[in-house]
């Protein structure tokens, strides 16, 4: 997979390169901008054709649908930025969601906070398992997590069998998390926003967070520079696992039933959300805000199609076109940056 790296090296915008051209220029260069525009156009067009789309209930549904994918995409961003990937998120989510169901059925009086803590810890353990295999064995994450995708799913099958937990098995207060709203925002969506903010601050504002970009741009250079690559990558897998755990608990709150197949096939949606959101698949550039917007865009399409009375069969084809458009835009942008860099370097000589 080393092949596609060659044209990725210059995609990170150089801070200060466009300084002095005003705030507008820097806004126009934002990688998240195309996603934001696409999302705005989609919502606007749908609203103009069917005003019912933006009723408080409609907005609430849009946000609720996106919540779980947003949290997973935030974790995936941490990994993709470092040139890793985690294909096992769907299986991890399934395990934790079923675990949540069984906790409630065996210990009905358990405080909800404790369930969240257990779920995230469980996810973190699964993530750490991925992280250890990837960093110690030095095998690409794509292969390892493809393996754990099967292993975790098999564990879930063995554990759950044909058993399912339904909405009636959990306390009402837990289910209410995905029904109640604060200022129009569902509680679990607020949680997702907090997660995205937290990851965004970590990635752009802290030294270890910036290290992740360095690792993704050039792992060898990062090692030579003294960045503890293995440790950072391991922690990214751990964090991704914990977020998948959080998403699993929220899944159990939001949906009526959890069983052996919960979360199957989710991994590709999550990676797609990150790619659409401008996170370069071979590391080094992108942001968690972009990935969250990508997740919002992908999940909003479903509701828009319903509101526009378009055949629901078109949904997946449109998602595919979106992903392809996103990577073409990314490619064009990176070519332009490369050209600009060449020109500015020529001037400096």
């Amino acid at each position: 997979m080393s092949s596609a790296l060659d044209h990725k090296k210059v995609t990170t915008p150089v801070p200060g390169a466009g300084r002095g051209q005003g705030a507008l220029a820097s806004v126009l260069r934002l990688r998240e901008l195309p996603v934001l525009i696409a999302l705005a156009v989609l919502v606007l067009v749908t609203y103009l054709i069917n005003p019912l789309f933006l009723t408080p209930q409609g907005v609430k549904d849009l946000l609720l649908n996106a919540t779980i994918i947003i949290i997973l995409a935030a974790g995936q961003t941490l990994l993709i930025i470092t040139r890793n990937i985690d294909l096992s998120v769907g299986s991890m989510l399934g395990l934790v969601a079923f675990g949540t169901g069984s906790i409630f059925s065996s210990m009905p009086g358990i405080p909800i906070v404790a369930v969240f803590a257990i779920g995230m810890a469980f996810g973190a353990v699964l993530g750490a398992f991925n992280g250890i295999l990837v960093t110690v064995a030095k095998v690409p994450a794509l292969v390892i997590t493809l393996g754990t995708l099967y292993v975790f799913r098999g564990l879930n099958n063995a554990w759950a069998g044909g058993k399912q937990f339904f909405a009636g098995d959990r306390p009402d207060a837990f289910g209410a998390l995905s029904v109640d709203t604060v200022l129009g925002f569902p509680i679990i969506t607020l949680l997702a926003i907090v997660v995205v903010l937290g990851v965004a601050v970590y990635m752009s504002g802290t030294r270890p967070g910036r290290d992740l970009y360095a690792i993704g741009s050039d792992p060898d250079a990062a090692t030579a520079f003294g960045i503890k690559v293995s440790k950072r990558v391991f922690l990214a897998f751990l964090a991704n696992g914990a977020l998948a755990g959080l998403a699993g608990v929220l899944y159990a709150s939001r949906f009526n039933s959890v069983g052996a197949t919960t979360g199957t096939g989710m991994e590709l949606t999550v990676v797609a959300a990150a790619v659409v959101g401008g996170v370069a698949i071979f590391g080094g550039s992108g942001s968690v805000a972009g990935a969250a917007l990508g997740a919002l865009l992908l999940t909003t399409i479903t509701s828009s199609l319903t509101a526009l009375r378009v055949d629901k069969f078109w949904q997946q084809a449109i998602v595919g076109v979106l992903i392809l458009t996103a990577i073409i835009i990314d490619r064009v942008a990176s070519l332009r940056t490369a050209k600009k860099l060449r020109i500015s370097e020529a001037r400096n000589v």
Partner: protein
């Protein structure tokens, strides 16, 4: 420079040469020995050992019925694994194969239901697969986009088109002789008749990879794209044709799937891409590119297929099977890296020992 270029005949052999990198140490294996101890050979041994064990230990395993069911089950993976091997050897990937198969299946259903001649239906479906492959090839080889991202996109796009074409419907009334042919066996051997075609595909890709300049070029591309294009290998063109081949073979798998189960649906073969990649990697192909072989991959596919079938016969519950696949995959990639760690440790120990000998 002057010291290193002194003639070797007069220079005393150094007691320890710590400057020599690990890779340049003599491996001590050439010719047949190298082939017999290679990574792919190990997969072949594992397959043979397991077949032997299953034939002895599991009642009812060694029978034509087993051969028949087992082969019928692995044919789609076996087919798609062939072009996938070549693609992964060049350091790329194709995640859209199962969606292409689904698209072909959906198209077959709709065309047949509209009353088209069956041979025209088959040809059109095959061409649709080729077109899907060309689309991938265009984006990856011509525009130079990353294959992982492109094929995640076309994974959704082709499956989406399949849904648009056939929706929730299923078409089942394919001509009886044709569907019967796809499950028929060669006499009493239990080998499905279609295996003849599958073997032809395997031979085609095997010869292409191992006995042609094109195939050797793919290995070179996997090691280094720049070096490959420097020695005159047409990197973009080779990649383009690989994706066309992948699309065509995926279409064949889709046609097989439709006629074997006598059902054209939009969700046929869904999720197969990960099974194929797992089997290819188990067969000894390196995900970094540059390494792998067709015999190894065939053994890898058959190993997973046989293991699953044997476990099912031995009444091991279905739920364990998927875990076995995952563990096999992880073990097959982690074991060599543990092996190389041990080798490195031995190397350092040897160097240390020879240093202490020199000192005393």
């Amino acid at each position: 420079m002057s010291e290193t270029t002194s003639p070797t005949s007069t220079a005393p052999t150094p007691v320890a040469d710590s400057t020599k990198p690990l890779a340049s140490e003599p491996k001590g294996r050439t010719g047949a020995a190298r082939i017999l101890t290679s990574r792919d050979a190990i997969t072949v041994y594992a397959l043979l050992a397991f077949l032997l064990y299953a034939a002895i230990a599991i009642p009812r395993f060694a029978s034509p019925v087993t051969t028949g069911f087992l082969l019928l089950d692995v044919i789609p993976v076996l087919l798609i694994a062939m072009p996938m091997t070549l693609i992964i050897i060049t350091g790329e990937i194709d995640l859209s194969v199962a969606s292409t198969a689904g698209l072909t299946s959906a198209l077959m259903g709709v065309l047949w239901a509209s009353g088209m001649d069956i041979w025209l239906v088959l040809t059109t479906s095959l061409l649709a697969g080729v077109a899907a492959g060309m689309f991938n090839g265009l984006l990856i080889a011509v525009l130079g986009l990353p294959s992982l991202a492109v094929t995640i996109g076309t994974l959704a796009l082709f499956r989406g088109l399949a849904l648009v074409i056939i929706g929730d419907n299923a078409v089942a009334n394919f001509p009886k002789p044709l569907t019967a042919f796809f499950t028929s066996k060669l006499g009493a051997t239990g080998i499905p008749t279609v295996m003849i075609g599958v073997v032809l595909v395997m031979v085609f890709f095997g010869v292409l990879l191992h006995f042609t300049p094109f195939g050797r070029g793919l290995f070179a591309m996997g090691y280094s794209k720049e070096a490959a294009s420097f020695v005159g290998i047409k990197v973009a063109r080779s990649k383009f044709w690989l994706y066309v081949g992948s699309g065509a073979v995926s279409a064949l798998a889709g046609i097989y799937w439709t006629l074997r189960y006598t059902s054209a649906r939009s969700d046929n073969a869904s999720g197969l891409e990960l099974a194929v990649i797992a089997a290819v990697l188990l067969g000894g192909v390196s995900i970094f590119g540059g390494k792998g072989s067709i015999p190894g991959v065939i053994a890898g596919v058959l190993l997973i297929g046989t293991l699953n079938y044997a476990l099912r016969l031995a009444r091991v519950s279905d739920v364990v099977l998927i875990t076995v696949t995952g563990l096999l995959l992880i073990f097959s990639v982690v074991a060599p890296s543990i092996g190389s760690a041990v080798k490195e440790w031995q190397h350092t120990r040897r160097v240390r020992r020879s240093f202490s000998q020199k000192a005393s």
